[in-house]
Symmetry: C2
Subunit: 342 residues, 2 copies
DNA sequence: AGTCGGACTGGAAACGTTTCCAATCCGGGT
DNA sequence: ACCCGGATTGGAAACGTTTCCAGTCCGACT
């Protein structure tokens, strides 16, 4: 019952050999069979286990990767974290979670904190991106991988997904099902996802050969169910007095979509009978909801895994060229746009 | 554009003062006004920021706390992590996430890994607990706080909740609403939550003055929606041929509850009309579900915060007496047990 | 038998920080 | 003018590990 942990030096003394040999014997290279055995025995007797800090100091490697998001607790981020952890853990890396806050400046500060060297790299999902943040990423002392916008022009490694194209898939899907009066429920336009999804919607509606009777866009205060309900009410209200009621709502994420469904129910509208609803992100929430939610999967776990793979490559060779990986969106059709009749 | 980060020694040379004074000036105690200014200036010019590893080695403190759960990704754990992070971050602690795997042995191994000293403490949520795990916790070189079972008798700090009492609240609630044919949908009995919730259910049903017409228990293979659906089908099937159909299902967590609702819908049963359903954990999933889910809140975020507070106390004084905190369960009534008629 | 080379070992330095201890400085009281 | 003490300062050690370098040993080849 030693109150203090055994050190390598103590193992060395116990085994009656030098510190250097002890290290070699335990770490594994260039030690004789006999030496290894002898040292192992001594280490076992003392219950030795190597100190991570001492090792880190000497090796200049912490075996830790930071994962920074605006809000741990958001299901999408959680799934990414799971993906990241899944890839990194088998390689001996620990994952440190951090929160960026929701401004680009606070994210930049977090990136700057990498200077203290507590981690070998960082995977970050900035809600908003500006030049300062990009500059900070470029001058970071360890590899940084961005999940979100593709940043090839800045020489930053990133994992992106074409959420604009994803919204396009959703729009075409509801058009295919004969809907012509379409509402788009988006989140704040000054966020990265908000901006690109708006772009995707406008492009899809404006595309060659698309015929609609009515198109409305409404912006929610945030990407949450609560804000989704409020904004969806406005959307339906706006559409009410006038002639044709909306028969489809394309939402910028699953939470907003669920908000839309709840608002529709309040008005006595059935989903998908009166109004079809699509979400985005393919969260568990949407999967188990009633009706289950048609949603555009952006491959959260896949993006997390991809980011982790990129990171592993960069930690091996920090000077390698920045790479971009794109994960394709995929429409998952479920009950909220299809029930009974085709 | 120095390719390598500045070290304290470089700052000292630049300022033309000793290493010791430089450290004091930046860290803050026992340095003259002039010295502080001089060193600060030099540090700023070099873009110096202290190396976390060097500091950790010397101070024997990592400013990191581990959070270990079976499965990051489970909404309940995520909320706890958020609570933990919320309390710890302002004190300068980082949170390292780790997965225990679902056996007691693998959790024990994780606790043993604390010997490498990469972290100042650990908050762990063991799915299963055995003597080895407890022993490992007791001999850990840093404070360990357990969320789950109260472990006062072993001198282990823990944050617990009386989920048995919580199930009791749910049972009484459905009884109050006139339901008499009650099914209990539980998860595996060899898990900590499974065991105590079963105990709570049995106690509530067996309590003085409780009148029921029918009581059934069904065990799902896991605490998931998918397993919940399967087990709920068995529950309803079992009840079918015979006379009175179940009019309430008490589920051991929200995921199982949602599984029960889906299974009920398959059979054409309305919720809460034909069958009332309660969950446990008060997850966002349940909050936004349709119908919104009556659920027993075990205060996930609150337990996370409490565990973090305990941890802060222990890192200040590792030898202080182990403490136990209990967070009371609270029934949150929503649509799945009440709609229209009282 | 003498030399060469490979395999192994030990000494010592280095990673970047904080802090103990001794030394220096300065002003004020005698 | 001298000494005392508080306030600052610098030197050096220490935290625990890995790894460079030089040295030792031993078998094998000429």
């Amino acid at each position: 019952m030693t109150s203090t942990r055994a050190t390598l030096l103590q193992v060395a003394e116990r085994a009656g050999v030098s510190l250097a040999s002890t290290s070699r014997a335990l770490h594994g290279t260039g030690a004789s069979r006999a030496m290894v055995e002898r040292v192992r025995a001594a280490a076992a007797e003392l219950g030795y286990s190597a100190d991570a800090i001492g090792r880190s100091l000497r090796m200049k490697k912490t075996f830790q990767i930071a994962f920074a998001v605006a809000d741990i607790g958001n299901p999408v981020y959680v799934e990414m974290m799971r993906g990241i952890h899944e890839v990194l853990a088998p390689h001996g890396y620990r994952v440190v979670v951090m929160t960026t806050g929701d401004t680009a400046a606070s994210a930049a500060e977090l990136v700057r904190s990498l200077n203290s060297g507590f981690v070998d790299g960082m995977v970050v999902i900035p809600l908003r991106t500006d030049d300062e943040l990009i500059a900070e990423i470029q001058r970071a002392p360890v590899p940084v991988v961005v999940i979100g916008r593709a940043l090839s022009e800045h020489g930053v490694s990133s994992v992106s997904t074409d959420s604009a194209a994803g919204i396009g898939q959703a729009v075409r899907h509801v058009l295919d099902r004969g809907r012509r009066r379409i509402g788009f429920l988006n989140g704040p336009l000054d966020t990265t996802p908000g901006a690109s999804r708006q772009r995707g919607f406008d492009a899809a509606i404006g595309a060659e050969g698309v015929h609609t009777e009515r198109v409305e866009t409404e912006i929610a205060g945030d990407f949450t169910v609560a804000e989704g309900i409020v904004a969806a009410r406005r959307l339906f209200d706006r559409a009410s007095g006038q002639a044709p009621r909306l028969d489809a709502v394309v939402a910028a994420n699953d939470l907003l979509a669920i908000g839309a469904i709840r608002a529709a129910r309040e008005l006595g509208l059935s989903v998908p009978g009166d109004v079809a609803v699509t979400g985005m992100d393919d969260t568990e929430l949407g999967r188990v909801f009633l009706p289950s939610l048609t949603s555009v999967s952006l491959g959260s776990a896949a993006r997390g895994r991809a980011a982790a793979e990129l990171m592993l490559g960069l930690t091996d060779d920090p000077d390698q060229q920045a790479r971009q990986i794109a994960v394709g969106p995929e429409l998952i059709v479920r009950e909220s746009t299809t029930d009974g009749a085709a």
